[in-house]
């Protein structure tokens, strides 16, 4: 049988202010009260006994988080509560930000995309084959560092949780230079997306209790970008490595090159040390160097059943060929 959900109180605010007020009223820790949007990540975990919140605050009725707004300057604001399906179907996104639409389309299966949201995918809990298991399974394995346990079964000698971030949207937003809006008891802040992540698989978000990711801002003039997701199956699977590349050209040579990665590390991240490619026409040696830089910076661990060796190699290869495709595009 499907495991039972724990008992909780479900609150259904209709505005961001109301959601924040409800959170404040519950007066609980972040564990005791959780926001929930599509639920495709959280509810699965709750059924497996991961988390036992007394209160869930549903964001599904919060109208001010479900819009895609085109601002006067051409920039786009995506409500964090916009579903992945709505994001894919939005004409402007498909036209001006095709990599965003493509990455969203690569997420899970059609049913998940109908209820899963942009904010949910950015906040997606980190994943590990020792963590995403049933209560009985984790109990029998003395739990793990990420939840209720003392050791990380992936790297038992360390005291670091290696659970991998596996959202598909983040790398595309990173290379596009997207910003996020966070509203909480302390007010509103707007930051680069990278500020959302701690780099720790155990507690991977910088959100403070009560804080809510409400919107994502996309720049008016996005860099040409592509996303490629490596996985065993063409649907359902989380990324074993996901690569977003943004590239501008000058006279047929690389001008700007940005690469971001998901699925291999505890956070999505921008690949560093790419400055040297400015002015490159990405010849054979440059391609090899580019792949090596990416290979070096990704650190897949045994958080999935697919071995790290291949994932590392494939991440480098995908980055290389996406960059070449962008350079060769009209």
């Amino acid at each position: 049988m499907t495991e039972l959900l724990p008992e909780f109180t479900l609150l259904q605010p209709t505005s961001i202010d109301e959601a924040l007020a409800m959170h404040a009223d519950v007066d609980g820790t972040r564990e005791a009260v959780r926001y929930v949007a599509g639920g495709t990540d959280l509810l699965v975990n709750l059924r497996r006994g991961i988390g036992d919140p007394e209160t869930l605050i549903s964001l599904n009725g919060v109208a001010d988080m479900t819009a895609i707004t085109e601002n006067d300057d051409g920039a786009i604001t995506l409500g964090a509560g916009v579903t992945l399906a709505a994001l894919i179907e939005h004409g402007t996104i498909a036209k001006r930000y095709p990599a965003v639409a493509h990455a969203a389309h690569e997420i899970a299966g059609p049913g998940h995309r109908e209820s899963g949201t942009i904010g949910g995918n950015l906040c997606l809990d980190t994943r590990c084959v020792f963590y995403n298991q049933s209560l009985w399974w984790r109990q029998s394995n003395n739990y793990c560092l990420k939840y209720k346990g003392d050791i990380c079964h992936v790297a038992p000698k360390g005291d670091f949780c290696h659970a991998a971030f596996s959202g598909d949207l983040a790398p595309v937003f990173l290379v596009l230079g997207a910003e996020i809006e966070i509203i909480g008891p302390g007010g509103t802040r707007r930051e680069p997306l990278s500020a959302l992540y701690t780099g720790d698989g155990l507690d991977h978000l910088t959100l403070k209790p009560g804080e809510l990711l409400t919107a994502i801002h996309l720049p008016a003039d996005p860099l040409p970008a592509l996303y490629e997701k490596h996985r065993v199956r063409g649907a359902i699977d989380f990324p074993l490595a996901g690569i977003a590349v943004a590239l501008t050209k000058n006279d047929g040579k690389v001008d700007t090159l940005r690469i971001a990665v998901t699925g291999t590390n505890t956070s999505p991240f921008m690949v560093e040390d790419l400055d040297g490619f400015a002015g490159s026409s990405l010849g054979d040696d440059a391609q090899i160097r580019l792949a090596e830089i990416v290979q070096k910076q990704v650190s897949p661990m045994k958080t999935t059943l697919v071995q790290p060796y291949g994932r590392r190699r494939i991440a480098g290869a995908m980055a290389r060929r996406l960059a070449v495709r962008l350079l060769e595009a009209d």
Partner: protein, 786 residues
């Protein structure tokens, strides 16, 4: 006597017409009720306490705190059942709940029945088990190590069973060969992943001391026997009902522990207990296709004639015997019966290990051996500069013939299968000629149409079917054949309709209620169409005879002169329209009232296999055959294999229901694709299964599903019902080697492990690139110096 029909004349009749499954409407509209769908207010909830150790001696099991919890109705443990169970009378070494020792992670130890699931789960957490952990083994090497602890005290070396046989002179065969090659293939353990998780509903009538069970079995008869055995009650105290079942693929071809636990729980609770397993528990109770290592050696002359084959198979059988000896026998038995192979030697060993017991998955035991054979044959053909398709063609059999192991082959359509696939796939234009990274591969396979000797030998007919005809003019067919989605009930309806000259809508099929339907051995080894189909034809012929006599009396004619056309009984060649079916029924009922007839089928002794030890396994009334071509491309950067097209021809003797045959072939291809591309079990170093969910156990998605071009070949087997043979398993085996051979064609890489996942392939490709580079550098250097 069975009426034999001219199949060409059948094309417009029920048999041979593509027919939607008769139980389709219920499934499509959600009306169908499966074992987990029978709710009533007084149903209690069962849960199983499972071992958190892979191998341990149980020192103490304390269930008292759990028993004391309010809402808990009963708790049972290994102490409540001292009988082992198992499909093979000679190899029952498994208790429904462990006694004294647990041998795999997740093995049932105790079970709780409570007023609801919440209470039952709370009680689970209160059970305390103290153990002494034992060394546990999850690989062939570790389990077979000389100093390994024995998993079963009576199985030395942790070897469950060994099989050794030789037919013909293998040494001599290799002497005759111009090329002898040997290779080892490693095939991961895989699971069936039927859509419906396991579920049973058991109701104990304490007043009458009577058990009624609804369960998701392929073999309700065997469940019935095992319930009586383990619960120490008479068979007449039990009624087993199989409701709609959402697939089986072999998992459910033996009684499973949860079914026995459900029965024991219901008696302990004196009530009705629903036991629904999660997907994780269903995976743990999967009776997998075991991890297998095959070392295959083949001898071939330079013009491609096979001279001998030698096969060594090691299977990681798991913690208990299960189908044990049968699986390891099958891995050798079907080396014969497909090609003209003068000598075959087989050595098979099934090894015990601390993983859940394996069992009979679609293509039982034969798939991995066939994979190894077809890959090696492909390699050798290419080495000799021969066309792999042509090599197969040079080694065909001719029916009727008999294998060295004593199995009669009365029909053989492999030649036609090969011709069809070769032409349709464009093989000659493509093989070895596609662009780099793209390739085409070819392979063949065969499978049995029912095990001619059942595992539980009683001497009874292999199948019995009852027909009832009453005042309403409808025929009710009663059969114990378990329709688990494969369409066996439709075959029964078509067969009756065909023989009696009726529309299929006049036939109602009632299945699988031991209180109503005749016993049937169940749905396994692709036996149902062959055996139940023949029994149905027998029963329908008897009914037809009764109706014809009644009609002849009314028409004042001789029974031999009566023909049935469009449900009218009339004198052959006469001018009269004749009598409508309903009138004939009424006439037939006058003297006897309700008519019941019975049909049976028994495999003649000469078809029950050779006299050698284990000869019953592989014995059959007829082999089906399959040829398959697969076209792939391989992304050298990501190791991703894309299957672009599949052409598959299947000799099923005669397609009684071409629609279902096509569906079965496609299903086989698709399941083979899962084994070939992505499916595998994994165990952590402590024996915990890492794969028991549908994210980590990667069944292909619709995205991977290629166009499958199916071609039905009809060789008309003289034993088959209307000439029919097996249709649901054979084409799984030919997919896997055809795909791996296509990867070879695409990349030059001979890959010997399954599944061919991207990470593995990318590693193999990078190693090959390195090897090629080194070889090129060396050649250049030598070229420079010479």
């Amino acid at each position: 006597m069975n009426k034999r029909h001219d199949p060409k004349a059948l094309k417009a009749s029920p048999a041979g017409t593509p027919t939607p499954l008769i139980d389709g409407p219920e499934k499509m509209t959600g009306q169908a009720r499966y074992s987990a769908d029978f709710y009533s207010p007084n149903t209690l909830t069962g849960v199983i306490y499972r071992s958190p150790y892979a191998h341990a001696e149980i020192l103490e099991l304390d269930v008292e705190k759990a028993r004391a919890l309010e809402g808990v109705v009963a708790i049972i443990t290994g102490d409540d059942c001292a009988h082992t169970f198992g499909i093979l009378p000679i190899a029952r070494n498994e208790y429904p709940m462990a006694r004294g020792r647990v041998r795999y992670f997740g093995e049932p130890v105790a079970a709780i029945v409570a007023i609801d699931e919440k209470t039952a789960r709370k009680a689970l957490a209160l059970i305390e088990m103290t153990v002494k952990e034992l060394p546990a083994y999850f690989t062939l090497k570790d389990a077979m190590a000389p100093d390994a602890v024995l998993i079963h005290d009576d199985k030395a070396g942790n070897i469950e069973r060994e099989v050794h046989n030789e037919f013909g002179d293998v040494e001599d065969g290799f002497e005759q060969a111009d090329l002898v090659r040997e290779a080892t293939f490693k095939c991961a353990e895989i699971c069936q992943v039927h859509m419906e998780p396991h579920a049973s509903l058991a109701e104990w009538d304490d007043e009458r001391q009577h058990l009624t069970m609804k369960t998701c079995s392929q073999v309700p008869y065997y469940v019935h026997l095992m319930l009586a055995h383990t619960m120490e009650i008479e068979r007449n105290q039990i009624r087993v009902i199989k409701p709609f079942v959402g697939g089986g693929f072999g998992t459910r071809t033996e009684t499973l522990n949860f079914e026995l636990i459900a029965g024991l729980l219901a008696r302990a609770a004196k009530g009705k207990v629903a036991l629904h397993l999660s997907r994780e528990e269903t995976f743990l109770t999967s009776r997998t296709r075991p991890y297998t290592e095959i070392t295959m050696k083949i001898g071939m002359t330079r013009d491609g004639k096979l001279t001998a084959a030698q096969c060594h198979a090691l299977q990681l059988g798991g913690a208990y015997a299960g189908y044990g000896i049968v699986t390891i026998l099958y891995a050798g038995a079907l080396l014969q019966g497909i090609y003209d192979l003068p000598a075959v030697k087989y050595d098979g060993i099934r090894v015990n290990a601390n993983v859940p017991p394996s069992g009979a998955m679609r293509g039982h035991g034969t798939v991995d051996s066939r994979h190894a054979f077809e890959c090696l044959l492909d390699e050798m053909a290419k080495e000799l500069g021969l066309d792999p398709v042509e090599v197969r063609r040079r080694n065909l059999l001719e029916a009727p013939t008999e294998t060295m192991s004593g199995i009669k082959i009365m029909s053989y359509g492999l030649d036609e299968c090969i011709d069809k696939v070769e032409a349709a796939s464009g093989w000659k234009e493509k093989a070895g000629k596609l662009a780099p990274g793209r390739g085409i591969g070819f392979a063949c396979s065969q499978y049995i149409s029912g095990a001619a000797k059942p595992v539980n030998w009683t001497g009874e007919p292999h199948a019995v079917v009852n027909l009832k005809l009453d005042f309403d003019g409808s025929i009710t067919a009663l059969t114990g054949a378990a329709d688990i989605g494969q369409g066996s009930s439709t075959i029964v309806a078509q067969s009756v309709a065909e023989v009696c000259g009726l529309d299929i809508n006049k036939i109602r099929v009632i299945t699988n209620d031991s209180a109503i339907t005749p016993k049937d051995n169940g749905s396994y080894s692709s036996r149902v169409t062959m055996m139940v189909g023949n029994a149905t034809i027998d029963a329908a012929s008897r009914l037809r005879d009764i109706l014809v006599v009644a009609a002849s009396e009314k028409l004042d004619a001789s029974p031999q002169d009566i023909e049935i056309v469009n449900e009218m009984f009339r004198v052959s060649g006469g001018q009269d329209d004749g009598l409508p079916f309903q009138e004939v029924v009424e006439a037939a009922l006058v003297d006897t009232g309700t008519i019941t007839v019975k049909g049976t089928f028994t495999c003649p002794p000469e078809f029950q296999g050779g006299k050698h030890r284990g000869g019953a396994v592989g014995s059959t009334m007829g082999f089906s055959y399959s040829a398959q071509a697969v076209e792939v491309s391989v992304d050298p950067d990501t190791g991703q294999v894309t299957v672009h097209d599949v052409w598959v021809a299947h000799d099923c003797g005669f397609a009684i229901n071409p629609l279902a045959v096509e569906g079965q072939i496609q299903g086989s291809v698709w399941m083979g694709m899962g084994q070939a591309l992505s499916e595998e079990t994994r165990y952590h170093k402590n024996g915990m299964p890492m794969f028991t969910n549908m994210l980590d156990y990667r069944v292909p998605s619709i995205v991977e599903s290629p166009p499958i071009h199916t071609y039905i070949v009809e060789s008309i087997d003289p034993n088959g019902p209307f000439g029919a043979k097996e249709a649901g398993e054979c084409s799984l085996s030919s997919f896997i080697p055809a795909m791996v051979n296509a990867i070879q064609d695409a990349t030059g890489l001979r890959y010997t492990e399954l599944p061919v996942t991207p990470d593995r392939l990318v590693e193999a490709i990078s190693k090959k690139q390195h090897r090629d580079k080194v070889a090129a550098a060396r050649a250049a250097k030598e070229g420079a110096t010479s």
